[in-house]
């Protein structure tokens, strides 16, 4: 009897430390920030708790009338819509190409593409800021050399978003490429041999064998990439501070600006909850699509 109880409790004792950390540093803060998002907590509220009042949904209502927030939402959607497919397509394509060959050159390429993802974002961003510099930067210099005009990479409102996406994609390829490479190496060789005898060209083999066999890793990479891009922060924070004229501002950066620069904690918390909900929603939709595809 007692023994039985011990047996049942055993697994919980094993996960208890991890669970404790999760509750302490994730669940409780999430709940607290949810509570805060319904209050007018700001810098005065921190010193004088009596001034903190529940204000219902007004933070959320204000958010959707705040043109800065709406701009940040628009920018974030732009990042997600361009960035996520770009990361998946490029890391997949590069993984397939690297998987093609066995010799030293391909091993070197693996390193070349992986390195960006293990370097520090801030350091990289600083270097790229130099490269993007309109008058002295490397990229514009090259463009000028081949007879093309200069581009205001971080100063032109229309281009700045793209410039940040290029950097973030470049940095994200490495890890995802590695995931795809691992999956590619798990595809049995005889699938390709059978397909070759069936008369499939290299391209047809890629479409009909490789991509379907990578379904699960493509799904995994799209979920993690999507979540990452919804929280797009480092690049605009370091390189543009959301400018010029808010054109590169993201929701995550908006939360930071309101919470930590202007100390509107309640307002920032509500914005972060909108982001949270959007991520959950997008992930759920992906799971649904995945299930449908599997059963269909």
């Amino acid at each position: 009897m007692k023994n039985n109880l011990m047996k049942k409790l055993m697994p919980y004792t094993f996960i208890f430390p991890a669970l404790l950390l999760l509750i302490l540093f994730s669940i409780i803060p999430i709940i607290i920030s949810l509570v805060i998002s319904f209050t007018n907590l700001d810098i005065t509220g921190l010193g004088n708790w009596g001034a903190v009042k529940f204000i219902g949904l007004s933070n959320f209502i204000n958010l959707f009338h705040d043109s800065l927030f709406l701009q940040a939402v628009g920018n974030t959607l732009f990042y997600v819509v361009i960035g996520v497919p770009a990361v998946i397509a490029l890391s997949l394509a590069i993984a397939i190409m690297i998987n093609f060959g066995q010799n030293r050159f391909f091993k070197l390429m693996r390193l070349v593409f992986y390195t960006p993802s293990i370097t520090n974002t801030v350091a990289v961003a600083v270097v790229w800021t130099f490269m993007y510099n309109p008058s002295t930067g490397l990229i514009n210099n090259i463009l000028n050399q081949i007879g093309l005009g200069s581009v205001g990479w971080l100063t032109d409102q229309n281009v700045a978003k793209i410039a940040l996406i290029i950097l973030a994609v470049w940095k994200a390829i490495g890890l995802n490429m590695l995931i795809f490479l691992a999956a590619l190496q798990g595809i049995p060789k005889d699938f390709y041999e059978a397909a070759e005898l069936d008369g499939a060209s290299w391209w047809q083999q890629t479409i009909h064998i490789t991509i379907p066999s990578l379904k699960f890793s493509i799904f995994f990479v799209s979920v993690t990439t999507l979540i990452g891009w919804f929280q797009f922060f480092d690049e605009p924070f370091v390189m543009t501070k959301g400018g010029p004229l808010g054109s590169t501002n993201s929701v995550a950066l908006f939360v930071y600006q309101n919470g930590f620069q202007q100390s509107n904690f309640g307002y920032a918390a509500s914005a972060s909850f909108v982001m949270f909900a959007a991520i959950i929603l997008a992930t759920l939709i992906q799971f649904k699509l995945q299930n449908k595809q599997q059963n269909g």
Binding site: D190, A195, E196, L197, A200, H208, P212, S213, K215
Partner: protein, 368 residues
């Protein structure tokens, strides 16, 4: 009509030091069922993969219908292949697996549909066309792999150990099914196995390989009755042929430790002597079923008997296998189970030397 000629084919893998296949020459006739058999690593898969075009041929020529196809792509060789692990595309239904090759070859929808249903009928999987391979049993997957070869209507089938992933019972029934399929479709087939029973039961002709070289080519009967060398003798047949180290002296062969002495039949003796083996060492090979315990045999051939001890005796129904020992030499006799012997018993057995095989101990080639 299709004819396949392999002319002095060699294969050396890029990363290997030695040739994996050496001087492989074989002519395969239309509608023939040829089985490559041999121990693991002897180059069976390498050879069949060169025929399919999945491996380059290092030297020599491969001809299909008189045309050298060494440099043709696999898809242009019009060959269908069944793989050991089936190689079914896991994300496609049975129907799509079978029709994939036809779609790529731009067959019409109606044609594809007819061929797939026809093949499904032959392999008995009509109800399973919508299933994914994961939802099929091993035997059913193997059938789909066969079906995928059938729909193509290719003149040549290659099969590389198609049954080795199945359990023993299923293997026997699939063996019969493939043989039946071949009788029905009459497709020229090359079948690879390391199981000599499969080879003996299915083949029109057997190609026995070892270390990348052909040891012998012949019908099952031929290679069983007249093995070209000691390896073939030992590889074909179950239980395996027994071997004795003997010396030819006058008209008798003597065991080296004088445990027995047997009279050599006249015809055989003449050949051995004329080939210069008088007084020389020989290897005697004799199949378990050519060792007799019946009184009649022992009375008629009193000079062909050995006194042995039976170590183990296995009753297999109509037959018994006796594991015998003479001196330190062990051998197996397969006898009628009426003559079943208790283990530990002393026993006189007669060796039917007319059915015996003599091999040169150095070259291991057959002398008689």
């Amino acid at each position: 009509m299709v004819e396949l000629n392999l002319e002095h084919i060699y294969k050396k893998y890029d990363n290997a030091d030695d040739y994996s296949v050496t001087d492989f020459s074989l002519d395969i006739k239309d509608k023939e069922f040829v089985v490559f058999v041999g121990p693991s690593g002897c180059g069976k898969s390498t050879t069949i993969r060169m025929i399919a075009g999945l491996e380059d041929i290092t030297e020599g020529d491969l001809l299909i219908d008189g045309k050298v196809v060494n440099d043709e792509l696999p898809k242009n060789r019009d060959i269908a292949m069944v793989f050991q692990n089936y190689a079914l595309y896991p994300h496609m239904s049975v129907y799509d697996n079978m029709s994939f090759g036809l779609k790529l070859r731009k067959y019409s929808k109606e044609d594809i549909d007819e061929r797939v249903h026809n093949a499904a009928r032959i392999i008995g999987l009509e109800e399973y066309l919508d299933r994914k391979p994961a939802a099929l049993s091993g035997g059913q997957r193997q059938r789909v792999a066969l079906g995928r070869a059938i729909v193509r209507d290719a003149p040549i089938f290659l099969m590389d150990e198609p049954l080795s992933n199945l359990d023993a019972k299923l293997r026997v029934s699939m063996r019969a099914e493939i043989a039946k399929l071949h009788r029905r479709l009459q497709t020229t087939t090359i079948y690879v196995t390391h199981d000599q029973t499969e080879a003996m039961t299915m083949a029109d002709r057997i190609v026995i390989m070892k270390d990348g070289k052909i040891q012998q080519v012949g019908t099952p009967q031929e290679v069983y009755d007249n093995p070209a060398n000691l390896f073939v003798g030992s590889f074909i047949g179950s239980p395996a042929m027994n071997f004795f180290d003997v010396t030819l002296q006058n008209n008798r062969i003597l065991d080296r430790k004088n445990n027995f002495s047997l009279e050599v039949p006249e015809g055989c003796l003449k050949v051995l002597q004329s080939k210069g083996y008088a007084g020389k060492r020989l290897k005697l090979g004799i199949r378990p079923e050519d060792i007799h315990t019946e009184n009649t045999f022992i009375k008629v051939f009193p000079n062909a008997t050995i006194k042995t001890t039976v170590n183990v005796s296995e009753l297999l129904g109509a037959e018994s296998q006796l594991y015998c020992k003479v001196g330190d030499q062990e051998f197996i006799a397969k006898v009628n189970s009426r003559d079943h012997i208790q283990p530990g018993a002393e026993l006189i057995v007669g060796l039917d030397l007319n059915k015996g095989h003599f091999f040169d101990p150095e070259t291991e080639l057959t002398i008689y």
